[in-house]
């Protein structure tokens, strides 16, 4: 099992002939992702690392048997809206939007199009998703060899609002001899497709995942909403969480568009309290995360 990506998923790369598109195609392929096709307007007929390139998503879809499960998007930020809507309208049901700096009103338009077509997306501004031993979408881990060495298969699911910290959580937890089901970076923006609560619901349904590790941040309502799902009994698996940004103050944004406290909402204290009340283990220092995860695995009798 694992969530979102595994070896069976047929993957498209939009913007495959660009600098990032080419580099990430190679890494995804080396890691083992099942890349079926790529597309870039006017570049149809080329190949990138052995992956055939088409002019449009529709063409790619038709030429490869009518089934592409996921599209990973590597086009410039200002074009993401058009690429995403093209894929959604062509029938792709899951998108991974990697670019940073996508305008928030574009993200809302993508969300509306996805909703109308029963599709979903991860990002924008996501480092990606990685299921050890199965596949990677986006760019987690950098080199495939590093990613394979850092992350082993197991029973802990990771969901994070920070790209770098997704890898860090995975690595430090791995140092405890703990394996992972899937690592998900939901993206650093305000308007995101899948959010922490959505990913937690997927982990809840995934038999491989026994414990969910959350790297949260100040700003927004994702952590509070997760706490609500826990209170409602919709997420029952143990949660270990760290919330970054205790030292941050209201009104200044710390790189991530979503990490800004506005009007007193989304404070560090509020998130810690909501999650703690709902039964999550919230650690104060990031360094305590691996050991706390270890303890919970021991308690529920999972070898990891």
């Amino acid at each position: 099992m694992a969530i979102i990506i595994d070896e069976t998923k047929r993957v498209l790369v939009q913007g495959i002939t660009g600098r990032e598109g080419q580099a990430r195609t190679r890494l995804m392929k080396e890691f083992g992702t099942n890349l079926i096709a790529g597309c870039t307007p006017k570049k149809g007929g080329q190949e990138v690392h052995g992956v055939p390139v088409f002019n449009t998503v529709k063409e790619a879809m038709e030429a490869t048997g009518g089934k592409l499960d996921i599209s990973t998007v590597f086009v410039p930020a200002r074009l993401v809206k058009y690429a995403a809507i093209e894929a959604i309208e062509a029938g792709v049901k899951l998108l991974v939007l990697v670019p940073d700096r996508v305008p928030v009103w574009d993200a809302m338009e993508i969300a509306a199009a996805a909703k109308a077509n029963d599709a979903s997306f991860v990002g924008p501004n996501t480092l990606g998703i990685l299921s050890p031993g199965k596949g990677v979408l986006g760019m987690i881990g950098g080199r495939a060899a590093s990613a394979q060495q850092w992350f082993k298969q197991g029973s802990v699911g990771i969901v994070s609002r920070s790209g770098g910290m997704t890898s860090s959580c995975g690595y430090y937890i791995g140092q405890q001899g703990i394996g992972l089901s899937t690592l998900v970076h939901v993206g650093g923006d305000t308007v995101l497709g899948m959010r922490i609560p959505d990913v937690a619901l997927l982990f809840e349904q995934d038999p491989q995942t026994k414990v969910i590790v959350v790297f949260g941040e100040i700003g927004g309502s994702q952590e509070e909403q997760l706490a609500e799902l826990m209170q409602q009994g919709k997420v029952t698996k143990p949660i270990v969480a760290y919330i970054g940004g205790a030292a941050a103050k209201e009104g200044t944004r710390f790189s991530h568009a979503g990490a800004i406290i506005e009007g007193g909402r989304g404070t560090h204290a509020g998130k810690v309290e909501a999650l703690t009340k709902a039964g999550a283990t919230v650690v104060k220092g990031f360094g305590e995360l691996p050991e706390a995860t270890r303890k919970i695995l021991d308690k529920i009798g999972v070898a990891a």
Binding site: E109, A111, G164, G258, F286
Partner: protein
């Protein structure tokens, strides 16, 4: 700045037909008096600052006499909010307010849609009115549903004579939010007056940083969310970001607790930075600045970021730490930091966590290059936790003593004299000290410079065109630092920081 001042927001509202108070912006007592003379007394005078609760700090004055206008203008224009001086005040007619309403539009992360808050029952302060606030989710394509607003108005106690104007105001808020790609627009209060008008008495507006490029007409010079107008250093830092799109560079100065020792902070990645700031803050330090260089930045960018951080007064140390398991190659950062530390002859301890790909090489480069500096520079890896290195940093700061030295940049003599072999690159110039290029040094330059250099008459010279070398700052700085490490400092990459170096 991605936040607009009250008067800028009001101009946008007025442009779509929403009535705003008569008045104008004054930057001096003379201007304030002239505006008051035009619109007539009494007037309201408000400092233009990005904060709520201006009344509480004395930033709003109700004035009835011409002399009063002068006196208040002088007073308001010498105020500071945080560390930032007030430079503009809005002088407006006093409104005969009947009811105070509230309209805001913001982005709801949970529903992925715009959300409008509407209070139609009056009262003072949004908190008081919370019970009567309507929360309307808005379809991003369709916009505000005016029929719905009319129904809400029909149920309210508001005089029907105002309904059309209120609907228009609500639509106006939506229009300026959508058109300008705002993250939020807040009109608090929207007032009805005893003479039958509906007026936007205040307006707070923030534009989406990522969409600022589509709205040059707004004249936003720094697309960053800050809680204050940009400082001199923030402007300098932002211009670097505009000139070099390789990777990202954020720089924001933070208000500090004067009782705590102040440090310069250099993170990598938003989440890693926040986590590292928490660790250093837990160790008892005040953080002078937030800085993030990430997304595979050029070496020049990391170098410039370090120089800007070090140009802040009163720092007792330099703390660098990101996520710890970076996908990007970490030796790039090591070269950039080492170069800045050497030029500044670093006199405050630096602790840098360089965890991630190629971390061993990165730590070795940093420590080797900085071996002879007055202060201790230590590099750490992914298996060193932020809290552990924060403690180590504390120890080094304590050993170094409390006085914060003033550091100045020094440039090698051969680059100053202007006789050295040199060529331009993007944002700077490269100098090679041919006079001191013996066979060994020449061999090093050609070795570390890769294909960029060749040997000619026993000296290293450019092997590619100036155009081809223009963006090779990362390779050139690597070459400079490797020669320096090897005891042959014959290469110098002179990178300018406009505003700091001139």
């Amino acid at each position: 700045m991605a936040r607009l001042h009250e008067y800028q927001g009001k101009e946008l509202l007025a442009a779509v037909g929403i009535e705003t108070p008569r008045g104008g912006v004054a930057r001096s007592a003379d201007e304030a008096q002239a505006i008051a003379a035009t619109i007539g007394l009494p007037v309201v005078m408000k400092i233009q600052a990005w904060m709520t609760g201006r009344k509480k700090i004395g930033g709003v004055a109700f004035v009835e006499t011409a002399d009063g206008v002068r006196a208040e203008a002088d007073k308001l224009l010498t105020m500071t909010v945080g560390n930032f001086p007030v430079t503009e005040i809005l002088v407006e007619e006093m409104l005969p307010i009947d009811e105070e309403l509230f309209v805001s539009l913001s982005i709801d992360d949970a529903s992925r849609q715009p959300v409008m808050l509407l209070a139609l029952e009056g009262g003072s302060g949004i908190e008081d009115r919370a019970a009567s606030v309507h929360r309307l989710s808005i379809d991003v394509k369709a916009g505000v549903d005016s029929q719905h607003i009319r129904l809400l108005l029909a149920e309210s106690k508001l005089d029907a004579a105002f309904h059309d104007k209120i609907v228009a105001a609500v639509e106006g808020v939506w229009t300026i939010a959508r058109k300008n790609e705002a993250r939020s627009v807040e009109v608090n209060p929207l007032v009805t007056t005893t003479d039958g008008r509906v007026i936007a008495a205040d307006c707070r507006m923030t534009i989406d940083d990522y969409a600022v490029f589509r709205h040059p007409e707004l004249g936003i010079d720094i697309a960053r969310e800050l809680d204050h107008p940009p400082t001199e250093l923030e402007r300098i830092a932002y211009s670097i970001e505009q000139d070099d799109h390789r990777g990202t560079f954020y720089f924001a100065q933070l208000p500090v607790d004067p009782d705590k020792p102040k440090i310069g902070f250099h993170g990598a990645g938003g989440g890693g930075s926040m986590m590292s700031m928490d660790a250093i803050s837990n160790a008892g330090f005040a953080i002078a600045n937030f800085t993030d260089t990430s997304g595979n930045p050029s070496v020049a960018k990391v170098y410039r970021a370090a120089r800007i951080i070090l140009s802040q007064d009163g720092l007792v140390g330099y703390f660098g730490s990101g996520s710890g398991v970076a996908s990007q190659e970490q030796y790039h950062s090591a070269y950039g930091l080492a170069k800045a530390f050497i030029e500044m002859d670093l006199a405050i301890p630096a602790v840098i966590r360089l965890g991630g790909n190629s971390e061993d090489r990165a730590v070795e480069i940093l420590q080797d290059c900085c071996e002879n500096l007055p202060a201790t520079v230590e590099g750490y890896r992914k298996d060193d936790t932020p809290s552990a290195i924060a403690e180590r940093f504390k120890q080094l700061v304590n050993e170094a003593g409390a006085a914060a030295p003033i550091m100045a940049r020094s440039v090698p003599a051969f680059a100053v004299k202007g006789e050295a072999y040199s060529f331009p690159i993007l944002g700077g110039r490269v100098f090679i000290d041919h006079e001191h290029c013996d066979a060994q040094a020449t061999a090093m330059v050609t070795k570390f410079g890769g294909e960029l250099f060749k040997e000619e008459n026993g000296k290293p010279v450019l092997a590619v065109s100036e155009e081809d070398v223009a963006k090779k700052d990362s390779d050139l700085i690597a070459c400079e630092m490797e020669c320096y490490r090897a005891g042959k400092p014959v290469v110098f990459v002179d990178l300018l920081i406009p505003g700091l170096d001139d």
